[in-house]
Amino acid sequence: MSPSRNFAQPVDRRAWIQKLLAPLDEPTWERLAHELFAWQFARVPAYRRLCHAHEMTPQRLNSWHDIPAVPQQLFKREKLFSHGSVRPSAIYETSGTTTGQPGRQHLLQTDIYRALSVEGARRVGLFEGNPHLHFLTPSPRETPSSSLSAMFGFWQKAARQTGPCFWLRKDKFEFAQLRETLIAQIKVRRRIAVCGTAFSFVHLLDAWADLPSLRLPRGSWLLETGGFKGRSREISKSELYAQLSQLFSVPDNSIWNEYGMSELSSQAYARGTSGLHEVPPWVRILIINPATRREVRVGQRGLVRWIDLANVDSVMALQTLEVAERTSQGFRLIGRLPKTEPRGCSLNAEDLMTNSHSLSLTS
């Protein structure tokens, strides 16, 4: 362990990035997790309070499995920032669609997020063949509070790509210009990648419903993320993928899902309708039984807990309300728990038209 590491210092942050990008065997992972836990325990008061409630301190920690995780909801109530009153260079906000109040992720610098979000995408092969990237989001300049736009901006720079590639400007999709650009790139057989939220793809499908399909060159891919969040008509994941596959003439396994969130600095990726999510080596996922706070057995369902060594500036361990099944290979994401409201007698009253079930499934 390196007790002198100071995550406020650029040199130490660069060294940390190098550590995470190097091969990570189990002892190294354990050591880095202990180190980051100790840093955040000492510097994030709300996290320290939570750890004390769980009777966990850096001195007591035996395994990274026992690192307490903050509820995702806490980002909406507390500033979870491991650099005290220092001014963060970036504040990313969650959509706030569930409660109306956004969660905030404070980053001292975007260096670690930039390096690892690019590397995570590179390692799953997204940048193979140097595809021309298109994003159905605003640019990071237009929405500096969006971690997704920020990541796409990092990808654009990593790909040394110039020219327009963010096709949502001032709340308007520029689908006509995008289509023209795609047609030109298809002609020169350039690989193409189109990335956006699920709802943006639904808008795209609606906008191009009466137009002919496009035949993207071999090796092209699509990437969707983020769900619908009440901003468009909702369709199932399989239906969305089928329609996208037809519209762009790409196979199902060329459509990726990115599973990430503003409160984290790393992402998981899955391929095709039924692909399992994979995380980079600096991330571990635990599927937790909330009643016991322990990992469920393979084949059982639990809640997704992220341990993200790239999340240096806030808290590395995040407890989500997303349900997944633990598999022998990792996890199969199922969906988010429904929100609760003060409904009294009509709590969870039936949705009459859909006869919905207790979980809103994403797949």
Binding site: A46, V70, G344, C345, L347, N348
Partner: protein
């Protein structure tokens, strides 16, 4: 079948929930006479009789069976044909099973007056003379858009309840137990379940919290069977606990941290919904600030249970201005009399139509 015969059948099948004397009182209180549905009665110098709806459509909540039982009891008392739209099976609620079990427990002559549906039958919905529905605002709007203008529509939307402890330092163990009964009955899922305990701002919270925690644990031990704690419920409870710990709130947990109950002292007096399932917030507020603290649920507060001495007139006025429709003693929140005005409305007389027969000379 006469009203009295139906009363006898209901009371015989479910004497604990629907005692005969209570059913008779309900008829007398709301219709003026037990036989008002069967014969002419004298009222203010003229003859009147009540006409019951022929078809009532009940749309049940997914979380709690007791509201459906009561709704159905009203329909059966009136001798109406009752269509019940059942909630779907859920991992966090046994409501559907309990509603079906209730119907199976009725005598056959009353069972004939009930039919159940898993999905909404819009044809029957439009044919119904009256609709009694429990649901979200969106559900109510949706239903209202589908019905005829001359159908009776009894909508029970979102509602919350709370406890007020008047003199926390004088709370007896009996009163603490009464609070625990209110909190833990029906796993806190009903509109009559308190989601917060309010006390005055200068009370000794530590002592009170300890006392309430003790009472909650004692009552939890008596509950059989214990309510289920599937993944979705356990997730909400542990999230509430972790949030409270991280925010620096005082949290009282059961001795072995089981998920039966959770008591959290939140320094913010503003009402926030509880995740239910035994999670109760203790909040402090000065009497002059009650209206602000509860502003977010104004018009949606069903019951205020009071432990200790009666509310001051100032406090009562504040609650009335917030639209509170029922006050009762702690320990009685979940067990209103059958004559209770649910959401401030007369349950039976809302459903009937009156026929007047003036003297013809």
């Amino acid at each position: 079948m006469t009203t009295r015969q139906r009363i006898d059948l209901l009371a015989h099948a479910y004497p604990r929930y629907f005692p005969r004397t209570e059913l008779l009182r309900l008829l007398r209180t709301q219709l003026g006479h037990v036989d008002a549905l069967d014969t002419w009665i004298q009222h203010e110098g003229i003859r009147v009789r009540a006409s019951a709806p022929k078809l009532i459509y009940h749309i049940c909540a997914g979380n709690l069976a007791v509201s459906a039982w009561t709704s159905l009891m009203h329909g059966l008392l009136l001798g109406a044909h009752n269509v019940v739209k059942l909630p779907s099976e859920r991992e966090d609620s046994t409501a559907r099973r309990e509603i079906l079990s209730f119907i199976r427990g009725l005598p056959s002559s009353l069972q004939k007056l009930v039919e159940t549906h898993g999905t909404l039958d819009t044809h029957l919905l439009r044919r119904a003379d009256a609709i009694i529905a429990f649901g979200s605002d969106a559900t109510m709007n949706n239903l209202r858009a589908q019905i005829r203008w001359n159908q009776k529509f009894i909508a029970h939307g979102h509602a919350v309840s709370l406890l007020w402890i008047s003199e926390p330092e004088r709370l007896t163990s009996r009163q603490a137990r009464a609070c625990a009964v209110d909190i833990l009955t029906y796993d806190q899922l009903g509109c009559l379940s308190p989601q917060a305990i309010y006390i005055s701002s200068n009370a000794n919270v530590e002592k009170l919290g300890h006392q309430l925690a003790h009472a909650l644990e004692l009552h939890w031990k008596k509950i059989k069977p214990k309510p289920a704690r599937p993944l979705s419920v356990a997730a909400r409870i542990t999230e509430a606990r972790d949030m409270a710990h991280a925010l620096g709130h005082r949290v009282w947990l059961p001795p072995n941290k089981h998920l039966g109950w959770t008591l959290i002292h939140d320094l913010d007096s503003t009402f926030q919904p509880s995740p239910l399932h035994g999670v109760i917030y203790l909040r402090q507020v000065g009497e002059s600030r009650v209206s602000q603290a509860l502003a977010s649920v104004a018009g949606r507060i069903s019951t205020v249970g009071v432990a200790g001495k009666a509310l001051s007139s100032r406090l009562e006025k504040a609650f009335l201005s917030l639209g509170v429709s029922r006050f009762c003693a702690a320990g009685h929140m979940q067990f209103p009399p059958l004559t209770w005005h649910h959401d401030g409305r007369p349950t039976l007389s809302d459903l009937v139509t009156w026929i007047d027969s003036e003297s013809i000379q």
